[in-house]
């Protein structure tokens, strides 16, 4: 077992970073100019939980910054009834650490709601903890369907889409748009990886795609040569990987080293700058799918990016930052409307409807799941993730590696 799981919830570095950023936001926008008025407001605490260290830290830090931005904006708003303070906790993308973080947030009676989790494997682990503690938690990045559909807890809601939509669209894209017919699936054995494999398989079967094999691998596995050698003998047109960035990098790089001539297709879990930086030239032509659209193309993306830039965070907001930002605003909207009361806030959040957020209209179903998620296809081109429609692969100027291999075989 990874002994990091027993680590303190927030690392010193992240305490410093989070604390500094929160402090700057709260002081600059909330307190300094009108101290008498700010002091008169009742303090309400909000927690943020996400991966601030580990392989997916870049997404967690982007989410945390976006959360802090939203809180700073509401503290600066004279119409706000409360002054919002923040608690930032690291879940390390590990279930045991995440449950400790949820316990810590939930056991503080001043914390009224939480904006929680990028990783599905931890989001599903904390569902019951939030329920037992009665703490409303809005998920901002995890995509496993069971996080909202696997229970009837009023406390859990989610602003981003699920992997069901993502994978059905992914299957559609690979089979109908690109014309691939044979697939080998590799996935990590966490709930996240298994879920992706399950829903991608569903999508493929619906469209007549042929699955040659499905292989589960341990998270943080270093060597994939045995699995890839096996898969290579199947001669798939596409290798689909359901997992996160560090393992995704290894699978792709080792594919190339073994001379596996297939297209690499990923999920939202590999959509990070770290994937492209670490995989280097191997990343070229890899495609994946993400809920929402690139931040600059979101309805309120420009406004969000301008506000984010003003806060001078060190890290970019990454793909799911806008979702954390919207989740924070929705949580604060509910508190402003029903007061800082956990059960009332949970009830209010469960059927959220708001037509004009920066990610577009938000409408939660009876499970607290946002029902209008948009999925965007991204492809790695010249060391950057580019929206498929804007890429040279879509215009035909370049050819995806998988299509080239397919043509050569024919």
């Amino acid at each position: 077992m990874d002994d990091q799981a027993t680590k303190v919830l927030v690392s010193r570095r992240d305490l410093l970073k989070g604390g500094t950023a929160a402090g700057v936001g709260v002081i600059a926008l909330g307190g300094l100019w009108r101290p008498a008025r700010a002091q008169a407001k009742k303090v309400v605490k909000l927690s943020f939980i996400g991966p601030l260290t580990g392989g997916t830290a870049s997404n967690g830090l982007g989410g945390r910054n976006s959360f802090l931005l939203a809180v700073a904006e509401r503290n600066a708003d004279p119409k706000s009834k409360y002054r919002y303070e923040t608690i930032v906790l690291d879940d390390e993308c590990k279930p045991t650490v995440a449950v400790q973080a949820a316990l810590r947030a939930g056991s503080d009676p001043e914390v009224i709601a939480s904006v929680s989790h990028y990783c599905s494997v931890v989001a599903i682990a904390t569902v019951d903890t939030f329920n037992k503690l009665g703490l409303p938690s809005m998920v901002w990045g995890a995509v496993l369907p069971d996080i909202t559909y696997g229970h009837k807890h009023v406390e859990i809601t989610r602003v981003n889409g699920t992997m069901i939509n993502q994978n059905h669209i992914a299957a559609d894209f690979a089979v109908k748009k690109l014309g691939f017919k044979t697939f080998s699936i590799i996935h990590d054995t966490t709930d996240y990886g298994r879920g992706h494999a399950k829903y991608f398989t569903e999508g493929l079967e619906r469209l007549g795609g042929k699955i040659l094999s499905t292989t589960g691998t341990a998270k943080d596995q270093k060597d994939y040569t045995a699995e890839l050698t096996k898969v290579k003998a199947e001669k798939p047109e596409v290798i689909y990987y359901g997992g996160l960035t560090p393992d995704g990098v290894r699978v792709k790089v080792q594919m190339d080293k073994l001379g596996v001539k297939a297209q690499f297709q990923g999920t939202s879990g590999i959509k990070s700058d770290t994937f492209i930086e670490t995989a280097g030239a191997s990343a070229e032509g890899v495609y994946c799918f993400v809920e929402g659209a690139p931040t600059e193309k979101l309805p309120g993306g420009k406004r969000f990016l301008e506000a984010y830039a003003k806060m001078a965070f060190k890290e970019p907001s990454e793909a799911y930052g806008p979702f954390a930002y919207v989740a924070t605003h929705l949580v604060i909207d509910a508190i402003e409307e029903v007061g800082p009361d956990r059960p009332k806030v949970a009830q209010k959040l469960k059927r959220t409807r708001k037509p004009d957020t920066i990610i577009g209209p938000v409408e939660f179903d009876e499970h607290g799941q946002n029902t209008v998620p948009l999925i965007t296809t991204h492809v790695a081109q010249d060391g950057k993730w580019v929206v498929w429609e804007d890429s040279e692969y879509a215009t035909g100027k370049r050819e995806l590696p998988g299509l080239k291999f397919k043509r050569e075989r024919a």
């Binding site: 010193r12 040569t225 096996k230």
Partner: protein
């Protein structure tokens, strides 16, 4: 039955993986053979070696050393010395002061040191949480023999690992300091009475084992083209297990144990249905079998004493 070329390719994959494990296992076995110490931060010393190597590649690029062969040689030499010295410092901080304490205390101290090293990389290395690309410094390209893909860099990695292992063997068996190590392994007090400088011998043992971990770390980076601050966790556990399978204290046993572990993991992933999910289960089950039925390992413990 899978085609022959697939079986041969998997055997080659297992060999490559086993060599990585063997280099770590030899370090464990040296520490145990000479000092009866299980140095549980050795996995993180291996990580440190990889990061030292990576940092040196940036340094050579910055000072304009463009020749890949020269840069690679300097990377190895620099990382070996640096990691070896850190290994000696680790020994002086966590092993020597506890020489007369119960073995459990040394175990705990080295485990803690491993955590400190890992966290230090995470915190102080730029964006230490992310996996890091390792530059390709060995000849690229590949050729096929009977459907088996062999990369030139893999052959170079095997050659470098082989040379490292032969050098360790020569140092232990053909040099004065090696004779001191063997003497200390047999009876530290008697060795001192015969004029062996115990402190210097212990220091050298840790230098040698840690330098070998640096070789393993750099080869790991070259083979996978990527390193990560947590790579020493499993690397250390497997390296120790491999040393135990081979026979703790036996250098050849550690090499054999490493190769066996790599081949077992690969075969489990390749040929058992859903074996990829259970590759570690299979490999560690074999370790348990050995611990129960042949606790001294394949080649028996403490060969260093008997030489």
């Amino acid at each position: 039955m899978p085609p022959l070329e697939v079986i041969l390719q998997q055997a080659f994959n297992g060999l490559m993986l086993g060599v990585m494990y063997a280099l770590i296992a030899v370090g464990f076995t040296l520490f145990f053979g000479v000092l009866d110490v299980i140095h549980f931060s050795h996995g993180d010393i291996f990580t440190l070696g990889a990061f030292a190597g990576l940092s040196l590649t940036f340094l050579w690029a910055a000072v304009g050393i463009g020749n890949p062969a020269v840069a690679l040689l300097l990377t190895f030499l620099g990382a070996l010395v640096l990691t070896g010295l850190i290994g000696v410092a680790a020994e002086r901080a966590c092993v020597k002061p506890l020489a007369k304490a119960p073995p459990l205390m040394t175990l705990l101290a080295t485990l803690s040191l491993g955590l400190v090293i890992r966290e230090a990389i995470l915190i102080f290395y730029p964006r230490g949480a992310d996996p890091k690309p390792f530059p390709a410094m060995l000849p690229q390209g590949l050729f096929e023999i009977g459907g088996v893909v062999i990369r030139y860099e893999n052959l170079a990695i095997l050659a470098i690992a082989g040379v490292a292992m032969v050098l360790v063997d020569l140092i232990i068996n053909r040099t004065r300091v090696g004779a001191s190590m063997r003497a200390v392994a047999q009876d530290a007090e008697a060795a001192q009475m015969m004029g062996v400088n115990l402190n210097r011998t212990v220091d050298f043992t840790f230098f040698l084992g840690s330098a070998l971990a640096a070789v393993a770390g750099i080869l790991n980076g070259l083979y996978y083209s990527e390193i990560h601050f947590i790579m020493g966790i499993m690397g250390g556990i497997i390296g120790f297990s491999a040393a135990a399978i081979g026979g703790l204290g036996n250098v050849y046993g550690a090499i054999l144990g490493g190769l066996l572990f790599g081949v077992l993991q690969t075969l489990a992933a390749a040929f058992i249905p859903r074996g990829s999910e259970f590759r570690d289960v299979v490999a560690f089950a074999v370790v348990m079998v050995f611990m129960v039925f042949k606790p001294t390992g394949i080649l028996g413990e403490k060969t260093i004493e008997r030489v």
